[in-house]
Amino acid sequence: MSTPDSSDTPIVELRNIEKHFGSVIALAGVTVSVHPGECHCLLGDNGAGKSTFIKTMSGVHAPTSGEILVDGKPAVFRNARSAIEAGIATVYQDLAMIPLMSVTRNFWMGREPVRGVWPFRFFDADLAGEITMQEMARMGINLREPGQAVGTLSGGERQTVAIARAVYFGARVLILDEPTSALGVRQTSNVLATIDRVRKSGVGVVFITHNVRHAMAVGDRFTVLNRGKTLGTANRGEVDVNELQDMMAGGQEMASLEGSLGGTV
């Protein structure tokens, strides 16, 4: 839970990113960097530009202007694949999981291990199952068996499978798009624990959320997005929940609302 260890060079750094869709300015100068082993929380209310920013970072959108640096060197992401090759994996809200299929088959989907010589090259179910069980256990989920269907898992556990999959297949930076937004209290804490584990293994995490409390629970640094701009980045301990909340909402009205609600938001 300390400040980012090791190197001063971020794995990925985005400087002054702007993105225009025709006359709409979705991003008007966003600067964010992620160091190894760091959880960088990106906070913002609906419409602040979070989704556009994720898509720029994961290579789906090309920025209108601004710089992307990978390991300190300028990089251009032509598409999602080139971002993945640079080690930037995105776990979207719909997770890319198939509920009817087993955890193992989902975990390895598209990258199944095989053994034997063609035409007798078979899916190595034992190895796949073993690694899946092991990776899931590292994330704190004890599967009954590798053949358990994803449909039997809770939303938080599915999130964890998706995270474990991205990490196992070489993600250095993991972008999590509101992983806790649809989850209950206990499942949320499971996902936050997963984020903590991933971070400790040296992966940089970009945690997008609009829930300040979730962000405070695991974040090392906090960047607030408002109306397409970064309002600044603060280290852990430099800000408190209320300050972040105010920055996200853009000030006064939230303060008065909060007063009338007795600090429950």
Partner: protein, 371 residues
């Protein structure tokens, strides 16, 4: 937290054996097979249904169903339908007969041409479904009519008939034709007949020969296709892609599964199976007819659904589909042996289809936990 996890784990583990059996796609068809056999053993045992000849009778019918059900099964798991299977059977048969009997090509060229044409049609089906994004139901419905119309047109315009006979003479001694029309293990059956282990003819010019002279290639094809497809589906990387393509095509694409290729290949495989069926049938009857294969697409789909596959894709089993075909064949022939009015077969078919779909939906809910 960890305590409660292990506790709930143990509680689940207690019932997991039962549950694991319940969520196997084959369960329904295994129960169905047992019930059907029990029923006919009780009702029609003395009718000759379970004599050597009777067994061969319903085995052949079941094998026919199985050949097309296997193709339809993999395609359905990949998330698509093919309603043109029946028309494909008629079309391939007529192509073989026209090529060999009418136009005088060697039989093996005729058969290979039929397979080539079928694969192209299968590819076209798949390509159109993928490119247009239309439901495969509509695209293959179009081909149901296109192929049937072409079949009748070809056969009428080339021979003025809708039935083309004389195939058997042309198939005589052809290496490839024997792969579809012959029988294997004849020596074994003769030997078993000589030893009195199986029934032999007691009179006539075939006296002393076994009543069943060998295993028809139709049955061999059915078994080969079942084993091949089962291994492909459950034991290979490609099999995982079939499940993934049908389970959620978008999610599969996200993770790098070549969904389009998988689906098109499955359309081609279905057409291949239909042509195997057609070739065996042409060799058996010695003729091709433009109306062959009518309604076979539905029989294939029913077998697959009885076998536990979901109509929505992503879930199913080849073994289940094969058992579905067996139930199908045994009931159809069994009602004949039991002297039941054969029209009742359709009533049974509709009933069991409904039952299977309800059971499958329930099982799906159990797996995915949706309510």
């Amino acid at each position: 937290m960890s305590d409660s996890v292990t506790q709930s784990d143990e509680r689940v583990r207690e019932m997991s054996t039962l549950r694991r059996w319940l969520i196997r796609p084959e369960l329904g068809s295994i129960c169905g097979t047992i019930l059907v056999f029990a029923f006919f053993l009780a009702v029609a045992n003395d009718s000759g249904m379970f004599s050597g000849k009777g067994v061969m009778n319903w085995t052949l019918v079941s094998a026919q169903f199985a050949i097309i059900a296997v193709g339809a099964c993999l395609l359905m798991i990949a998330g698509e339908f093919d309603l043109s299977v029946g028309s494909m059977i008629g079309f391939s048969g007529v192509v073989i007969a026209l090529m060999s009997v009418t136009w005088g090509f060697p039989m093996w060229i005729a058969i290979l041409t039929a397979f080539a044409v079928a694969l192209v049609v299968g590819w076209l089906n798949g390509y159109l479904v993928i490119k247009t994004g239309l439901p495969s139901f509509i695209v293959t419905l179009a081909f149901l009519y296109i192929l049937r119309g072409l079949t009748i047109f070809l056969s009428i315009s080339a021979t003025n008939k809708t039935i083309i006979g004389g195939v058997r003479d042309h198939a005589e001694g052809d290496w490839l034709a024997n792969l579809f029309g012959g029988k294997i293990l004849k020596g074994l059956f003769t030997w078993m007949g000589e030893n009195g282990w199986i029934e032999t003819f007691s009179r006539g010019n075939r006296a002393g020969q076994p009543v069943i002279e060998g295993i028809p290639m139709l049955v061999v094809w059915a078994i080969v296709l079942i084993v091949f497809s089962h291994v492909l589906l459950t034991k290979t990387r490609f099999g995982n892609w079939i499940f993934a393509a049908g389970g959620d095509a978008q999610a599969a694409r996200y993770t790098g599964v070549p969904v389009n290729r998988v689906k098109i290949l499955m359309f081609m495989f279905t057409a291949f199976c239909a042509t195997v069926f057609a070739t065996c049938q042409v060799m058996e009857f010695g003729s091709a007819a433009a109306d062959r294969g009518l309604l076979k697409e539905f029989e294939a789909i029913i077998s697959v659904v009885i076998g536990g596959a979901l109509l929505t894709g992503g879930y199913g089993s080849v073994v289940g589909a094969a058992l579905g075909a067996l139930i199908f064949g045994v009931v159809q022939q069994g009602l004949f042996f039991a002297n039941v009015e054969s029209s009742l077969f359709r009533v049974f078919l509709g009933g069991i289809l409904l039952l299977a779909v309800i059971l499958n939906t329930y099982i799906r809910r159990m797996i995915t936990g949706e309510r």
